[in-house]
Amino acid sequence: MTQGIPLNFFLIISTLMFFIGIFGFLTRRNLITMLMSIELILNAVNINFVVFNKYLYPQQLHGLFFSLIIIAVAAAEAAVAIAIIINIYRNFKSIDVDNVDEMKY
């Protein structure tokens, strides 16, 4: 179904997505939105792996499995992060980074 679409197009999308995620992580001041930026980053990585697998090395499944595993790990990561975030909310009544910044350099 993807005949005629060059590999580079996928890579452009994923790269853009990756850096949008980085941008989001740097500018967002809310813990949950920071987490969402990270999900964007991981998603970009997934696209990379899958596309490489499909276009360049279809005889084995490394890219595919790597994506699967990243998804699983991301789920665990998100679960733990959200558990802590909720815990913070109970303590601070807020989850904005500026409020969380109790410690200073």
Partner: protein, 475 residues
């Protein structure tokens, strides 16, 4: 799979079994006497450590995804020894009222992260490396957030998990490019296929940035101080000692084998990063009042020194780095042991609280002084030997100016280490921390650290053993 394969993987398998064992025993113990879990868990881990030292054959399993060699076994054993001391030093804190309910969880989570580190060390492909890394970091965040009525602790947890997630993202982006250019995730394939195309260089940089987060090299260190200060003392010592040691080990393996072909590149990168890391770590450490923050920045500076060993890019460098990690484990655990013993009794953790400590608690102060000297690299304690060999390996590659900068930085670091010594020995204090007697676990933990600080340096046999193993790995 045959029985022998299980033996090859015994470190990981036994530890996972022990996690489950603790889980089961915990179910049988009534809520009132959860503290029983402490001796149970510590003795279990002690057994595990001893088993780790039994000879085992090396081998490659899972088609190359897992490999075990004398060197990896040694690395795991070094980590094990460190963990034993950490556990001993944590006992007093775990016995506190507010932590009693989740003692077993503490052990289980810590061991899970340790399993992750084992897998990192033994990984033969990037998939396992990544998984080990995540296994070593995700549960760790919950350890940082362990004390949840303290806001600092929760903050440490969330900062840790967010920054580590970001770093894994960056690392993975690099890995995806490596996959795209090499077509495999196995180290052995990549090693032969890796060239110096710009994309591969870029991929390496992404990968290295991700790793740099984990070892908290400047400029990827921003999370370190907050996490170290916020997390409970014992968790901090686990972070700064064990997890950093493991990351250093894996960096050795990856740089020396997988990225061997672009050594010229990563040497340049390490050269710059190590200077920045030493300088920034030192400059920030100078200004700290909180001992945990202080040790955090000092450990950043130590990570900068560590890179010098890697720069050697030869057997000497490998040996020196592993040896330095071993020394660093003991010296830092000595320091953290004292901090944690005092914190458990009095809740104090500022440098100024330590004023006049020598008058009331001479032994603790002495151990602290030795650890500080060891971290600063002063003879006759082990730190001197660690630093000497580390710098020797950098010099062996001809980096004399770098060595000079590093030794000057070591001198600067001596300044702030001496400030701690000064607080304990010279400063006067009207109400110093009163004399107290630590419990048996803590004392054993402290004695172990002190012995290590003294023995490792003089006993050249340890160095020779590491050398003999390191020589086997370089291809």
């Amino acid at each position: 799979m045959v029985f022998n394969d299980f033996l090859t993987m015994r470190h990981e398998l036994i530890l996972v079994c022990m996690i489950l064992l603790v889980l089961i025993i915990d179910l049988c113990v009534s809520k009132a006497n959860k503290t029983v879990m402490i001796p149970v868990a510590i003795s279990l881990f002690l057994i595990h450590t001893i088993i780790g030292f039994l000879p085992a054959q090396s081998g490659v399993l899972f088609g190359g995804a897992y490999h075990s060699e004398p060197l990896t076994v040694l690395m795991k054993n070094i980590l094990n020894i460190g963990v034993v001391i950490v556990l001993l030093q944590s006992a007093a804190w775990l016995q506190k009222e507010e932590n009693r309910e989740k003692i077993s969880e503490f052990f289980m989570i810590m061991w899970a992260t340790l399993t992750g580190m084992y897998f990192m060390i033994s990984s033969g492909d990037f998939l396992m490396l990544y998984l080990g890394l995540e296994l070593a970091t995700i549960p760790m965040a919950t350890l940082a957030a362990y004390v949840h009525h303290q806001t600092k602790s929760a903050e440490a947890g969330v900062k840790f998990i967010l920054s580590s997630a970001l770093s894994s993202g960056i690392l993975l982006f690099g890995l995806s490019m490596i996959y795209g250019t090499c077509g495999s995730m196995y180290f052995d394939t990549i090693q032969t296929a890796y060239g110096n195309a710009p994309l591969q260089v870029l991929a390496f940089l992404f990968f290295f940035s991700g790793m740099a987060f984990k070892i908290s090299l400047v400029p990827f260190h921003l999370w370190t101080a907050d996490v170290y200060e916020g997390a409970p003392v014992n968790v901090t010592s686990y972070f700064s000692v064990i997890s950093k040691g493991a990351s250093a080990f894996i960096l050795i393996i990856v740089l020396y084998t997988v990225f061997h072909s672009i050594a010229y590149l990563w040497k340049d990168v390490l050269y710059i990063i190590s200077i920045i890391t030493m300088v920034v770590g030192n400059l920030f450490a100078l200004r700290q009042q909180n001992l945990k923050r202080f040790l955090a920045f000092s450990s950043i500076a130590q990570a900068g020194f560590l890179l010098l060993g890697l720069l050697g890019a030869n057997e000497v460098g490998m040996t020196a780095t592993i040896y330095f990690v071993l020394v660093y484990i003991f010296s830092n655990l000595g320091a953290f042991g004292v901090v944690s013993a005092i914190h458990a009794k009095t809740g104090k953790e500022n440098i100024s609280d330590y004023n006049g400590l020598y008058k009331t608690n001479p032994l603790l102060s002495l151990l602290m002084m030795l650890s500080m000297f060891s971290l600063a690299g002063i003879p006759p304690v082990a730190g001197f030997f660690g630093k000497f060999f580390l710098f020797t390996s950098a010099a062996s590659a001809g980096y004399y100016w770098l060595v000079f900068i590093a030794v000057l930085n070591a001198t600067i670091s001596l300044y702030y280490y001496l400030m701690v010594v000064k607080a304990m020995f010279i400063n006067k204090n009207d109400n110093p921390i009163p004399y107290f007697k630590s419990d048996a676990y803590t004392r054993v933990g402290l004695i172990c650290a002190a012995l290590g600080i003294f023995v490792i340096g003089f006993w050249s046999q340890i160095y020779e053993i590491i050398t003999s193993l390191a020589f086997g790995v370089i291809k």
